[in-house]
């Protein structure tokens, strides 16, 4: 990956012009970086990567990681090593709605396997795959702290709990109708319980 190979000094100038944060995104990044003592702005890296992922179609391409490095005055490798460590950062393209179904013990005791199978059959994809229309990605994840309302799935900032096939149907239908990308950073949170 190019983020591994070339440092920030080799950052492709044309790419940089093509790829840029929105004014609003830059404002957020500036604010995030000001929350730490002098010289410790690297601490903002994870929050900034969230902003970047939301602005660039839900995943971090090597070019986007380079952009983050330049924006934050870090080495490209510093960005890549962090982006590759955390499970919420996607290093490959994903669908507009990534359905992250919890599969850990409490959800499993209440039928998470059935939900995963149901979604897979309904959308005709397997775990880790995206529908041909680029709308849905099915992902299985570890405990999301919703054990008391299992089974559950997360999509962007939204938690969908106490799932059953009917709820899954309604959810997929709603997402299809909305047609928008769901990001973790979405401001509006609708509690579905």
């Amino acid at each position: 990956m190019s983020a591994q190979i070339h440092g920030t000094q080799h950052f492709n100038e044309t790419l940089r012009e093509k790829l840029a944060f929105s004014a609003e995104g830059l404002e957020t990044i500036k604010k995030l970086m000001s929350r730490y003592p002098e010289g410790k702005h690297k601490a903002a890296l994870i929050p900034v990567l969230h902003v970047a992922q939301a602005e660039f179609e839900g995943w971090l391409s090597p070019e986007v990681m380079d952009l983050v490095a330049v924006t934050m005055n870090l080495q490209a490798i510093e960005v890549f090593e962090v982006a590759s460590f955390y499970s919420m950062f996607n290093l490959k393209p994903i669908g507009k709605c990534q359905l992250e179904v919890c599969r850990t013990s409490s959800c499993w005791t209440r039928g998470a396997d059935d939900i995963i199978e149901y979604i897979g059959k309904k959308l005709n994809i397997r775990e880790g795959e995206t529908t041909p229309d680029g709308m849905f990605t099915l992902k299985t994840v570890e405990c999301l702290g919703s054990c008391g309302s299992a089974p559950m799935l997360q999509c962007g900032a939204e938690y969908h709990e106490n799932l059953n096939p009917e709820k899954v149907d309604a959810l997929i239908e709603r997402y299809r109708a909305e047609g928008t990308r769901k990001n973790y950073t979405d401001l509006e949170y609708k509690n579905t319980r």
Binding site: K42, A43, T104, S105, G145
Partner: protein, 452 residues
């Protein structure tokens, strides 16, 4: 009905907003501490209260606070650990979502006690929407003069920020959390030095769980001695328990430490008994990392005494016949759940979440996952069971952080108590082909464990 300290007002309408929270006595602890107490006096009250860390380790909070180094001219930090990721635990999310101001209030009072002028709440990335709720509460606190410069005219300054993670169980380990907060990979640090000496950016730092910090509010309001009156022995006060699995009423319950496990499991006030009239098979009382208990050791200890929801009683019998209170993630399994499958599930979790820094954990968790998967799919042999015990034993105690132990204990305990079920998987590969084979597995008669 036990006394509630943290969730007493959780069903008050609008308690999430500053006005309602304030009307119900909110921010009284900040007023009391800043105006009438010295920081040392607040630490002393916490010591007297006997409060123990609610994240899982159960270390006395007052003692942790008193270890904080105070060199001249070096900033100190308080970091709240809201990276709740232990399977079966969701109490912190509930508390932050329902009563965000309680955490903000606790952070102000605790930061004052520790002399911190900048504090961070590190919250797991998946709880992004909860971070928005907290940010809203913090903004309200700033607007009403509880945060910022010269709070209540006392000359004390405090800035409070919410930092969002990005999905890593390991970041709940305090030094990994600090690494992550500094913008790095969440690899735990070698201790010593402990964070109290060299934590965030090398400065003295205290890391406390959400519930621990929230508990400081009633401790300051009513006094540590009053708090210590609740509970039994060294398990003082109240504890939030996240109940999940095959029970009638999953959810978060605040209990007075010392309630019996039997009451907690069966009383309609709490879990409400087993769902669908099924039989209890096993229980993990403190989050996925603690040893699993078979049915006959859940409500009674091996010596026949009632088991209580306390640090001591749940640990009674050590690892042979006991478990731990841990983070309070109470997961209940009915007779149709397959223990081998569940143990594989946990192992997969730890393998996925191992940071990869120490070889015994990185490789060992992968081995355990693979061997358990083999057993669960009916392709294992009898030697595999002993191999698991051996691998678990080689991880335990050989890693920088406790994730290795947390991965090893559930496997060792499951084999200790449910060896017959592992053997059944080896002997009857054809019967377990069905993914729902847990429904057909025979339940073994109770076999008493001989304590050493």
């Amino acid at each position: 009905m036990g006394r509630k300290l943290l969730l007493a007002n959780d069903h008050v309408e609008g308690i999430r907003s500053y006005e309602v929270y304030r009307k119900h006595g909110g921010y009284a602890s900040v007023e009391k501490a800043l105006k009438t107490m010295s920081p040392e006096a607040v630490v002393e009250e916490v010591k007297i209260s006997g409060l123990r860390g609610r994240g899982g380790a159960g270390f006395p909070t007052g003692m942790k606070w008193s270890f904080l180094a105070k060199p001249e001219g070096v900033p100190r930090y308080l970091v709240c650990n809201a990276d709740e990721s232990e399977p079966g635990t969701f109490k912190d999310r509930y508390l932050m979502e329902r009563i965000p101001h309680l955490l903000v209030e606790g952070m102000i009072t605790s930061s004052f006690a520790l002399g911190a002028n900048t504090s961070y709440i590190y919250i797991r990335g998946e709880y992004f929407y909860v971070s928005r709720i907290l940010e809203q509460a913090i903004a309200e606190a700033y607007n009403n003069g509880w945060l910022g410069k010269n709070i209540l005219g006392t000359g004390y300054n405090l800035d409070l920020y919410v930092q969002v993670g990005a999905g890593a169980y390991i970041c709940g380990e305090e030094t990994a959390l600090l690494e992550s907060l500094e913008g790095k990979r969440g690899n735990p640090r070698i201790k010593p030095p402990f964070p109290a000496i060299a934590g965030l950016w090398g400065c003295p730092t205290v890391v406390n769980n959400v519930e621990t910090i929230a508990a400081v509010v009633p401790i300051v309001n009513d006094g540590g001695a009053e708090y210590a009156k609740l509970g039994i022995g060294r398990s003082t006060g109240t504890k939030l328990i996240s109940a999940s699995g095959n029970i009638n009423n999953p959810g978060v319950y605040e209990i007075e430490l010392g309630v019996s496990v039997d009451e907690f499991l069966n009383s309609p006030e709490y879990c409400g008994g087993m769902a669908n009239g099924k039989r209890l098979k096993a229980c993990v009382p403190g989050g996925s990392s603690v040893p699993i208990l078979p049915d006959y050791l859940v409500t009674k200890t091996i010596s026949g005494e009632d088991r209580l929801m306390t640090y001591e009683s749940l640990a009674d019998g050590g690892f042979v016949s006991g478990s731990m209170l841990g983070s309070g993630g109470f997961i209940v399994y009915d007779e149709h759940q397959c223990i081998v499958r569940n143990t594989w599930n946990f192992s997969r979790f730890y393998h996925h979440e191992s940071c990869g820094q120490c070889s015994p954990c990185r490789e060992g968790t992968g081995w355990m996952e693979k061997v358990l998967h083999r057993l669960e799919k009916g392709m294992g042999n009898m030697d595999d069971i002993d191999l698991l015990v051996e691998v678990a034993g080689k991880i335990e105690g050989n890693t920088i952080c406790p994730l290795g132990d947390a991965a090893a204990w559930p496997v060792a305990a499951a084999i200790r108590h449910f060896r017959h079920e592992f053997e059944y998987h080896v002997k009857h590969p054809e019967k377990i082909k069905d993914p729902k084979h847990g429904h057909k597995e025979p339940i073994m008669p109770v076999r008493p464990v001989v304590t050493a």
